[in-house]
């Protein structure tokens, strides 16, 4: 058993999985509250990556930053998260709120419209060329190792900050008042509004947090994998959606688990199966189907109760 290969695959799986988990969290949060699949979520992630790039260059750029590298990275994250959170709130207010009582498929097309709009606006404003984060100069390529396990700094950063954000989110939902309001609203929107909860504000907060997480995911992805361009949200959105469903859509711990699982599945499939990389999407989907057959509500989802 080649342990070093196994650990390499596990680390890369966890890294990519953390990014997917953050994207999936945004999907799950919005779905839990609105029963809406936010198609534009992947593009918010893309905008986050670009916002991080701009922050990096306004702070001097990767080669000669005007502050310590760690501070620059923190500021990049903060800027991207706030910008994307705001963007998410705006999108909700103008594209989804008027459709709150409409048939469920209408906001899907509205989301599609937003997605087209964001992608092509990014193309128009930022241009078609790829932009590089140049992590090599910003953070360096140091690698830490524990026995057979090798972790580069960006990978470590991604996994640790993703875990941190997930813990923060869980605490927010479980312990704070707004979290309680979110849980109540996702359980029964009407009853929650009758209990005096401002449903509009709760939904706006949900979108803010979900989109902020997507923005963070965008910056993380760019730090580890380097290149950003206007079309990068498409694949991430698709994978994030798959991860959310695997974990049980609507469930937050499910989204986290689902994301990590998808990342690991892709990694192991590529590493161990013949022509694994060519067919990795198929292997992940096959895993998804297997899970759905065994547990139709996803790994941690609640079974759908059909009231007659």
């Amino acid at each position: 058993m080649n342990w070093s290969l196994f650990w390499d695959l596990t680390v890369s799986g966890l890294t990519l999985g953390s990014v997917y988990a953050l994207v999936a969290l945004g999907y799950s949060m919005v779905y839990g509250i609105l029963k809406l699949l936010n198609f534009a979520h992947g593009d918010v992630y893309m905008i986050g990556a670009f916002m991080g790039w701009f922050a990096l260059h306004w702070l001097g750029g990767p080669i000669n930053p005007s502050a310590a590298a760690w501070l620059v990275v923190v500021l990049m994250f903060l800027f991207a998260m706030v910008a994307c959170g705001g963007l998410g709130v705006v999108i909700e207010r103008f594209a989804y709120r008027p459709l709150r009582n409409a048939p469920r498929i209408a906001p899907l097309i509205s989301a599609l419209g937003v997605s087209f709009f964001l992608q092509n606006s990014a193309l128009l404003l930022f241009g078609a060329s790829f932009r590089d984060y140049d992590t090599f100069h910003l953070i360096g390529a140091k690698t830490y190792n524990v026995g057979d396990v090798f972790l580069s700094v960006p990978q470590l950063l991604t996994i640790v900050s993703a875990i941190g954000l997930m813990i923060g989110l869980t605490l927010l939902v479980a312990r704070t008042k707004i979290g309680k309001a979110m849980r109540a609203t996702s359980f029964d929107r009407e009853a929650a509004s009758m209990m005096g909860i401002d449903v509009d504000r709760v939904i706006a907060s949900t979108f803010f947090i979900g989109s902020a997480l997507a923005g963070a995911a965008g910056v993380m992805f760019a730090l580890v994998f380097g290149q950003i361009y206007h079309f990068m949200g498409f694949l991430a959105g698709l994978k994030g959606f798959t991860a959310a469903v695997i974990g049980g859509i609507g469930s937050l711990p499910g989204a986290m688990l689902g994301g990590l699982l998808v990342g690991l599945a892709e990694s192991y499939a590529t590493g161990y199966l013949p022509q694994g990389s060519t067919f990795q999407n198929l292997y992940v989907f096959a895993l998804l189907i297997a899970i759905i057959i065994i547990r139709p509500q996803g790994l941690l989802g609640k079974p759908d109760v059909n009231k007659v």
């Binding site: 390499d8 680390v11 590089d132 090798f150 580890v224 994998f225 079309f231 990694s267 590493g271 990389s277």
Partner: protein, 393 residues
């Protein structure tokens, strides 16, 4: 009963109105409907400005490639129009083919159909499948079309496009042969890993190289990634440490760079990395020590230098064949327009007679009967530690 009749009459009237409106709103401003024969030979007077078409991916996942191609073509046009010896100015009508986008090759055909009747000839399309899909449209309209990036070998060998389609970039068979020979005879490697990006350009090259290497007794493992992918770490983990060379015939230099970076991060930096002409770019060269195949272009060519200066230092050679394509088309139009009038058939014949010396590609450009550059071949380049490509074979 009467109300119903009125309603029906009103609807029919509306229908008639709608049809008239549709007709007048969409009639092509420039000319009447053109049948196959007349479009080919219809004489267009070459006034002060003559129009050529350019089909390129302006939006969609391949927009970065489209930008490179249009930048180089625009550069040629600017130089041409500044030259007082040229009687006519050239302008480009663009068609967005959205390569790799949701509409698929239908977008390319729509773009080809959108070329106005005053367009004499076209550059592009960029993708090999796009060339296939647009062939009937462009042939019916009588266009000669010159692509700067469609390298699939069958495009010129299957005979469907002879005398209409030309390309200013050598085909995959030439490139694959050069690469395989270099790996086998020069580097003498025995264990090679080939990774394609699932697009037609890539798999074509990968197939050719794989076949030739296997025939020479080299151990070849083959795998693929998606063109959208940026994370290669799991695939890299799988590549055995004793692999001598990894061949990545990809189109997007940033992805090639990302792959190289991730190889190094995984401690496999000693494995030689080789890209195809799609990766012949400063971004990829920045890795240092990598190989790429490309036409024998040169950084000291005056046009390259001028382009570099105008575009902030980065020549980005992927678009260079589009410059030559613009040169070919522009030159053909100039020659056909000598008598003040030109038809698409004339321009096509003039393209066939192209004879350019010392182009940006480092080759002389004359077309053979199939539409390929005569004697077009690829050279192998190696990047120095400082990130510049130097020819090695």
């Amino acid at each position: 009963m009467r109300r119903r009749a009125t309603a029906i009459a009103a609807l029919l009237g509306l229908a008639a109105l709608a049809s008239v409106a549709a007709a007048s709103a969409t009639v092509d401003r420039a000319a009447a409907p053109s049948a196959a024969a007349s479009a080919d030979s219809q004489l267009i007077s070459c006034g002060k400005t003559v129009t050529m078409g350019m089909l390129a991916p302006i939006t969609g996942p391949a927009a970065s490639l489209g930008k490179l191609q249009t930048d180089w073509a625009k550069f040629y046009l600017a130089a041409h129009n500044k030259n007082p010896k040229n009687k006519h100015k050239l302008r480009i009508q663009y068609g967005d083919t959205v390569l790799g986008g949701p509409g698929g090759t239908a977008e390319a055909v729509k773009a080809a159909q959108s070329l106005g009747s005053n367009v004499l000839s076209t550059i592009g399309p960029a993708g090999s499948n796009e060339v296939r899909a647009t062939t009937p449209t462009l042939k019916n309209a009588g266009f000669g079309f010159v692509s700067g990036s469609a390298t699939n070998t069958e495009l010129t060998t299957d005979g469907t496009r002879t005398n209409y389609f030309f390309r200013t970039v050598p085909p995959d068979s030439a490139q694959g042969t050069s690469v395989a020979n270099f790996i086998n005879k020069k580097l003498k490697f025995k264990r090679v890993y080939i990774i394609d990006d699932q697009e037609a350009y890539s798999t074509g090259l990968a197939d050719t190289v794989q076949q030739k290497l296997r025939a020479a007794g080299v151990t070849v493992t083959r795998d693929g990634v998606s063109q959208q992918q940026s994370d290669f770490s799991s695939l890299i983990a799988k590549i055995p440490r004793d692999t001598q060379l990894v061949y990545i015939p990809w189109q997007l230099p940033p992805k090639g760079k990302a792959f190289g970076d991730q190889m190094r991060a995984a401690g496999k930096g000693s494995v030689v990395l080789m890209g195809s002409d799609g990766l012949f770019d400063d971004a990829f060269a920045a890795l240092g020590g990598v190989y790429a195949s490309s036409f024998p272009t040169s950084g000291s060519h005056p046009v390259v230098k001028a382009f570099k200066k105008a575009h902030g230092g980065n020549p980005e050679f992927f678009g260079a064949p589009s410059y030559v394509a613009a040169q070919v088309v522009g030159g053909a139009i100039d020659r056909a327009c000598k008598d003040g009038k030109a038809s698409r058939a004339e321009v096509r014949a003039q393209i066939r007679k192209t004879n350019l010396k010392n182009t940006v590609l480092g080759l002389n450009v004359r077309f053979n009967a199939q539409g390929d550059i005569r004697g077009g071949q690829f050279g192998i380049w190696k990047a120095t530690a400082g990130g510049t490509f130097l020819p090695v074979g």
